[in-house]
Subunit: 106 residues, 2 copies
């Protein structure tokens, strides 16, 4: 996983922590479609995702909160979110956060 | 990984995305110590961490930015950070972010 090449803060992070239910049930295909669709949205800055079996953390980065909120309302994404709640995830938490500073190596 | 039981926003998230270098070199022991030490700090709310081989995302949650900043300055943690830069990580990014809303399932 490459580290997302985000600009200087401020920008918005959407932290999605989840435990999947057993079985694929169309999840993998929808995930690829959502990653591709997200990257086309206004204000999209990048995504980082790590999974270990059924648990995962995905962080998507956006220019601001309104761009993140607009992505949440994209029709095809609303369908995926509904299926996520009903079928794919045993539990998840979404946290919308405004990045104030960042630093690192590499 | 249990999802952290954070309170109602606002609170602070520190998103740590990394790629480890090869070999343990004392990393696993220090990680356990740091997780234990972090949990003793004022304002600590919880931690979520997922690794897949050498890549990982860890998100720690804090009451506010000043609590997160204080943890960064704890002496034993400073030593670990230095060793992280020098030995354990090929690359990493730390993003400090203020959570404004959250929602989920389960």
């Amino acid at each position: 996983m490459p580290i997302a090449e985000t600009p200087q803060p401020p920008y918005t992070a959407v932290i999605f922590t989840s435990t999947r239910s057993a079985g694929d049930n169309g999840y993998s295909r929808m995930l690829r479609r959502m990653e591709s669709l997200a990257a086309e949205q206004p204000g999209y800055l990048g995504i980082e995702s790590v999974k270990d079996g059924l648990v995962g953390i995905t962080v998507s980065y956006w220019r601001d909160e309104s761009d993140a909120a607009a992505w949440k309302q994209v029709a095809e994404h609303l369908v995926a979110q509904d299926r996520g709640r009903q079928v794919w995830y045993d539990e998840y938490r979404v946290r919308v956060a405004n990045v104030t500073r960042d630093y690192g190596k590499g």
